[in-house]
Symmetry: C2
Subunit: 319 residues, 2 copies
């Protein structure tokens, strides 16, 4: 690492993770997708993932200093998702909760932001919950997106790394290019176009809408230099990275990653098995990778993703 | 300040602020309220406030390292508010944007979180935009809330304080007590109850719903010890504080503040003039207080607020 980037070094550690999939399993052309079962909500899945992460770290919720929801979509317009998850997991306790949102890369953003609070000593352990129910707004007439998404949730406990431990965030970077602000959206239901404005003529505005080719074009234009700048600033090269954990955006992953210099085998691709889990996509892949032993303590992982915005997030994480 | 609290000290400075009110002025029983004019959106107000803050700091958007939307309510379910404001103010630039949300106290949370990123050197200057359009979801049948809220937006540029400057965040604290998660809510329109579920029998679920007496009871139970703990931890007393900038929650402000040991004159009360501006409430009052010279550089201000959740935020800010 170059000395100029030492300011970014944060001595933090992923203590444990958890994950939960919606119970209904579907298949579209051989690709498995998961959708909420009857009566199931994203809160059930978040709680399940959260409790799994706590058990794995041999902690209880009382050991957590802050609960962060890093989800792409609001569960209610008010209160924030953090308060609703808090009610499930920490009711009666005063643990602070908040939402951090950069849509599909919210998990990387939350890791990034909270790592500074942990490294500085403000918090010791933070529980970061991600997850969305894309199925709540999928448009059956837009096959490309209707057959892509899954519902699920993940949890991650981030803590300070002890002396002598290698775990750290070495570097992270985010960019937003709002030329793509309307390439991925749900226009209706919230402040700009409330539910009351829904009528027979504008139903499409209340569904998830994805302009795939436009997104791919903007990504192809922006991602290579975003990545190269990070490698240049850190002095880290592709060879130093054990595995890339990309956002499982779509089947195009297999096209984009090699173009970014990551051939098959150097990155995790779970699109056919799980689809795009929105904000849970990156942490789900990270959790699975850790569970399967593909990343060991001390290994360098690159978390990389694009989100509605268009936002791109990147993090060099020594697990 | 006690030595144990030095870890919390962040050498940051509010460079400038801006504010914008919706254009339609109403009056309820002599209390002034502001609501969006025809065709006006919260994005117009956020942009106006943001440009005012940039002018006041003699900066352009290119001098900003991160755009943060600290708003209580989503404008669209996707993308995040940050991307939509970015489109207005920073389209074509790669400045990162994100949302930080603790409902009505989102501004304090964003100041809190971003101050760590600035103090560590990750970012030099951050633009924090707050603001909501409560009017999009007010229920004409719930007079208490219908006549309370105003639409408006604020902007704040937070930067590192220079050597020799007194400006700093000395301490901040947040708590969430989710016993109050359903005392302030908009249940419908988003993931848990999408717009498509709206029917004639459940319209109330898509309106803002506030259970005033329940919130007051929970605040009365929790706030005194929340405040005393902060005074105890910092060694700072009420005498050291030049002015308290509370969230302008409701007319009950005049009852609650004296009970918390802040008699009239020691805190800002703008409820009759502007009502509750939701996430813009605290920064609007802070901006006005600074504009009127009631807080000078070096003065200690206490930002204090409660939010749906129930969440409470507190910050000791040396302006």
């Amino acid at each position: 690492m170059k000395s100029s980037q030492k300011a970014q070094f944060r001595k933090v550690k992923i203590l444990s993770m958890g994950k939960a999939l919606a119970s209904q399993k579907l298949s579209f052309g051989g690709q498995a997708r998961y959708r909420l079962g009857n009566g199931q909500t994203i809160l059930d899945l978040a709680q399940q993932a959260g409790e799994q992460a706590l058990r794995a770290a041999r902690l209880t919720i009382r050991d957590i200093d802050c609960i962060v929801c890093a989800m792409a979509t609001p569960l209610q317009a008010i209160p924030c998702n953090g308060a609703l998850v808090h009610e499930r997991m920490a009711k009666g306790l005063g643990i602070p909760s908040m939402d951090i949102n950069t849509t599909c890369t919210s998990f990387i953003s939350a890791l990034d932001v909270l790592s500074y609070m942990i490294a500085s000593g403000r918090y010791n352990r933070v529980l970061i919950l991600s997850g969305d129910t894309a199925s709540a707004a999928l448009n059956p007439n837009q096959k490309e997106s209707y057959e892509l998404f899954s519902d699920g949730a993940t949890a991650c406990i981030l803590a300070r790394a002890e002396e002598g431990e290698d775990s750290a965030i070495l570097y992270s970077s985010q960019k937003t290019w709002s030329e793509g602000a309307h390439d991925t959206e749900i226009r209706g239901g919230c402040g700009l176009k409330p539910a009351f404005c829904l009528n027979e003529g504008n139903q499409e505005d209340y569904y998830f809408d994805m302009k795939g080719p436009r997104i791919l074009k903007l990504c192809a234009k922006k991602l290579p230099s975003f990545l190269e700048q990070s490698f240049k600033e850190t002095g880290i090269s592709r060879r130093d990275i054990r595995l890339v954990i990309p956002h499982q955006a779509s089947k195009a992953l297999g096209v984009i990653m090699p173009r970014l210099g990551f051939p098959a085998g150097t990155y995790i691709d779970l699109v056919s098995e799980y689809g795009n889990l929105v904000s849970a996509s990156v942490p789900f892949a990270l959790c699975k990778t850790i569970e399967e032993g593909k990343i060991q303590r001390g290994d360098l992982a690159l978390l990389l993703g694009t989100a509605a915005g268009l936002t791109a997030n990147l993090m060099l994480l020594r697990y």
